[in-house]
Structure formats: C-alpha cells, structure tokens
C-alpha cells in the first residue's frame, strides 16, 4: 500500500476512534472530570489545607499535576482497550483485517485515538483545576512532550491488553490490579521524600513515578527524580510495547485463526 493510501487508512481509523468517544461523551469525557473534581475538592481543598506544603508547594498545587497525569493515563488506556476489544467482540475488527491497511497503521490509528481522548480529558481536567488553584507552566516543552509520550505508552499497553483479552473481565483486570495501584503509588498524592529509604527505592521501580514527576517538573519545576531518565524510560517502553503489538498483529494472535 502506498504512503498516501496508508495515510488515508490510518487517518480513517483515527477519525473513527475520535468519533466513537465523542459520540458517547457522557461515558468517556464526563466521568473522569467529575472524579477529578472530587479529588480537587476533597484532597486539595478540604484535606490539603491541613496538610500544608509538599515538595515546597502548597498541597493543592503539588497534587494537581499528578491528578491531571492520572486522568491522562487511565483514559488513554481505557479508550484503546475498550474500543479494540469491542471491535474484536463484535468482529468489526475484521473490516480492518481484510483491508490492505498495514498492521502498524491499524495500531497507530487506535493508539492516536487513545492519545486524543487522554489529552482532551487532561485538558478539561486542567481547566477544572484552574478553579481551585493558579496553574503556571515552568517548562512547556517538557510538559507537552511527557504528557503526549505517556499517553501514547498507555494507549499501546491498552492495545496489547485488548489483543490478549478474551472477555470483558480481561480488559478490567490490568486497570484494576496493576494500573490503579501503580498510579496511586506513583507519587500522585505525595513526594517520595516522605518515604523511608526502602520504600523510596521500591517506588523508583514504578514507571508511573517517572511520568508523574516529569509532568510535575514541567508545571512546577520540581521533581523527585531525574527527568531525563523519565524520557529515556518512556521512549524505551514505547519501543518495546510497539514492537510487541506489531508482533502480535503480524502473528494474528487472537485476531486470526
């Protein structure tokens, strides 16, 4: 398939993904905003005012970047895993499999769809956060780059989860038992400086810690970890997951008989 035809095919998948989550916006865009607003009210305003400073910033300012990143991660992952698994379940994925669209374009179309939802939700949550605190951006390039790459990484992870999944239960196992604990323990609500050296060391094995801290660095200019390592780590994970996804697609894992 020539470059132009592949581009049309890829953009068709991407547009369809955006159309899908925009069509069901009460399920896709509203709930994360309500959840995050509750976090802002409870952890930021009510409890946060009694906590005092965290990492040299008022707790509300500290927690907002983490909560934005949390909404980006969960929505990017959730969009791709549910959309691609639904396509498998309804067999509409066969529309793509019988077409000349290359595997990488199928994966990229779904992943970029997940990124679009993650970023839109992240933007809405950011706007809501501005009602609770004043938000500046210390390093715009770092902020945009890390949020985009993190969204792409978790969209890829959602894509792989959807390929392996053979029931709707299987697409909720990873978010419930892996993603949520890693996110909550990934420095969203606290600085790892508060932890003992053992737990600090353990926390540093959590990849989400690096993404949250890099984003916080972009917004506030403060981080528990070296931001450069975060970018290296995210790029390596993206390369690994993309290769894994393409391998599964080319071998037709749970997609072809």
């Amino acid at each position: 398939m020539s470059g132009k035809l592949t581009w049309i095919s890829f953009s068709t998948i991407f547009r369809r993904e955006v159309r899908r989550f925009m069509r069901i916006w009460p399920q896709t865009l509203v709930p994360p905003v309500i959840t995050m607003t509750l976090y802002f009210v409870i952890f930021g305003s009510l409890i946060g005012s009694r906590i005092g400073d965290m990492g040299g910033y008022p707790y509300m300012e500290f927690v907002v970047p983490g909560l934005i990143m949390m909404s980006v991660i969960t929505n990017s992952y959730g969009n791709v895993v549910s959309s691609f698994y639904s396509a498998k379940f309804q067999r509409s994925v066969e529309e793509l499999l019988v077409s000349p669209t290359p595997n990488w374009a199928v994966m990229a179309g779904y992943v970029l769809g997940g990124v679009a939802r993650g970023l839109i939700v992240g933007l809405i949550v950011t706007l809501v956060a501005m009602f609770f605190t004043s938000l500046g951006v210390e390093y715009l390039g770092v902020t945009v780059a890390i949020v985009f790459l993190t969204s792409a990484l978790f969209s890829l992870a959602g894509f792989i989860n959807a390929i392996y999944a053979n029931s709707f239960d299987a697409i909720s196992i990873i978010p419930t038992f892996v993603l949520t604990p890693l996110t909550y323990l990934g420095g969203v609500f606290y600085s790892i400086d508060l932890l003992s050296p053992f737990w600090q060391g353990l926390s540093k094995l959590n990849p989400i810690l690096y993404m949250v801290n890099s984003f916080r660095y972009g917004i506030l200019g403060v981080s528990d970890i070296k931001v450069a390592w975060a970018f290296v780590g995210v790029l390596v994970f993206i390369a690994l997951l993309a290769s894994w996804g393409l391998y599964l697609m080319s071998h037709g894992k749970r997609l072809r008989h």
Binding site: M1, S2, K4, L5, T6, I8, S9, S11, T12, I13, R15, R16, R19, R23, S86, A87, Q90, R91, S92, E94, E95, L96, L97, V98, S99, P100, T101, P102, G252, R256, H257
Partner: protein, 311 residues
C-alpha cells in the same frame, strides 16, 4: 487467461489437530458466477477465511488475479471483497459511516468514499436508513449493508458466504437480481449458499467440498446431466384413497390429492400420465419435490457416506 482465483493444494489444520482442508485445488475464471457448496463443516468458510486473510493456511497457494497472497497480500486484498456469513460491523455505528469508513480502510479519499456509499446504499435500498445505527436494521438489511460495504472499493472478485441466509424470498430475489447485475458488469462472484435453488439459478460453475476435499468441480450444466433420478409431486383433482399401481415407477401417496413419483433417467413422465389417466386420475399440476441440484447434492453426499461406511 489469468484465473480470478487460483487455489492449489490448500491445507488447513487447526490448533486442536482438526484438518479442515486436506489439499484442495480449484480455479475460478474471470467473470464467472461460481458456487462453492458443501454441508456444514465441509471447509467452505475456512477456504474463504484463508482467501481474505482471517484464517492462516497450513500449506498451499492462493492467488487472486495472479497476485499471490503470500507475496503481495495488500495488492491481493484490493482485488477482493468479502461478505461474511456472520454480521461483523459495529452495531452502534451508522449505516453510512460503516460503508464510507470501509472505503477509507482501502485508501479511498473521503469524498469518493461518500459518493460510492451513496451509490451502493441507493442500489441496495438502504439510503433511507443511512443515519440509522446498524443494530436497528432488520436481518435482511444487515446483509445488504455488508454487500454495500464489500463493494465500496469496487473489487474484481466478490465472495459471498451465504448472503441470503434468513432473508425472505422477495428480498432474496431482489438480491439475486443485484448480484446478476454486478456480475454482468464484470465482477467475478463466488457464492456459498445452502439454498441450492440459488446456486442453480445464478451460478455457471460449481465446486462441491466435503470433509475438506473437493468432491466435484465442473459446470452446473454438466453436473445436472449426471442426475439419474428426479422426484416429482403430482396434484390430482380426484380423491385418492390408495397409492395407484404404476408399472416401472416408484410411487407414494402423500395425501388424498397428491402423489410423489420418482422418475429414473431414461424413463418418460408421459408413460406415468398415460397410466394414471387409464386409472381415472387426472393430474392438475406438477412440481419438483426439491430442485435438481439439491437432489444431486443429496445423492452425492449419501454416496460418499455409504462409501465411508463401506470402507
């Protein structure tokens, strides 16, 4: 001339060890209307699945208009349109979007995809439903939607896996007319169906597959010539209390006004009519019990079964 579809020694063994295809070979010529028949589980859908890449073959070669699916699958796929047996579209998408989006998957610019979508939805009587979610369509409409979707990129080879299953007779006939029209315009069509009347009236050539092997591959005309016996149902105006004796014919009373009579190759129905008239029975109408291809199909499969039991 390059065959529209060429299959050579195609084999498929599933993970559990079940051998669905045991090395089948056949060709379909350009412009043909070809029937691929066989009982349930014979290997028809596996064959179609391999052609359109949803099933991975174990061995053998498949080429579409000379393009080998292993060497250039993208090019082969552009030549092929498939209407599967089961509904495989998003139930929540609108009819128009499903068809136009498929055009995009084949690299068609949006404007062209929309024009073609309008054209095919109109031809298939779905234009009024263009803004309806697919799940709201009737079974027949869903089948037509899949035909419109398969035609959006104007394939040279169209494969339909039981396209009229569950479709009422009126709609079925309008679909036949539509398929004959696109075949007349040059599209090669391969059809699998359980309605043998459909295959007999539409198709010129046929392959019959059973237990993963091709048991017959010829023209429908030649195949029907091999038919050794036909069963007719005769309706009579007289009240029939018992089965009439007809020398040389196998005869059975169905009810008080109809008879079933089997005519062997070489026998003449006129002889039966003369004998019936001599017994005071007037035949008012007559029809085949099953269509001719169906009789042949059943007899072929029964012979296979007997041979299997014998061995």
């Amino acid at each position: 001339m390059t065959a529209a579809l060429s299959i050579h020694d195609l084999q498929k063994t599933y993970d559990g060890g079940f051998q669905a295809l045991k090395g089948i070979s056949f060709e379909v010529q350009p412009g043909d209307f070809f029937a691929l028949l066989g009982p349930n589980g014979a290997g028809k859908s596996t064959t179609i699945g391999i052609i359109c890449s949803l099933v991975r073959k174990t061995a053998g070669n498949v080429s579409i208009f000379g393009v080998d699916i292993d060497s250039d699958f993208a090019a082969a796929k552009r030549l092929l349109g498939v209407v599967p047996q089961e509904f495989n579209f998003s139930q929540f998408e609108k009819v128009f979007d499903i068809v136009a989006t498929q055009g995009g998957f084949y690299g068609m610019p949006r404007k062209l995809a929309e024009e073609r979508t309008e054209q095919y939805l109109k031809q298939l009587g779905l234009w009024d439903k263009r803004n309806t979610q697919a799940r709201m369509l009737s079974g027949g409409m869903k089948r037509r939607l899949m035909i419109a979707r398969a035609l959006i990129h104007e394939p040279k080879l169209l494969i339909l896996d039981e396209p009229t299953a569950g479709v009422d007779i009126e709609l079925r006939r309008s679909m036949w007319a539509f398929l004959e029209e696109i075949n007349a315009r040059g599209t090669t069509i391969i059809l699998t169906t359980h309605y043998l009347e459909e295959a007999e009236s539409l198709c010129r050539n046929i392959a019959i597959i059973d237990k993963g092997v091709i048991v017959e591959n010829t023209s429908i005309k030649s195949l029907l010539k091999t038919l050794n016996r036909e069963t007719f149902i005769l309706d009579s105006s007289e009240f029939l209390s018992e089965t009439p004796e007809l020398a040389g014919f196998e005869c059975r009373l169905l009810d008080s006004h109809s008879l079933e009579i089997t005519v062997e190759k070489g026998q003449s129905l006129t002889e039966a009519f003369v004998e019936l008239k001599a017994q005071g029975i007037t035949v008012t109408s007559m029809r085949n019990r099953a269509n001719r291809l169906e009789e042949l199909f059943i007899s072929m499969l029964s012979e296979e079964k007997e041979e299997g039991l014998g061995s």
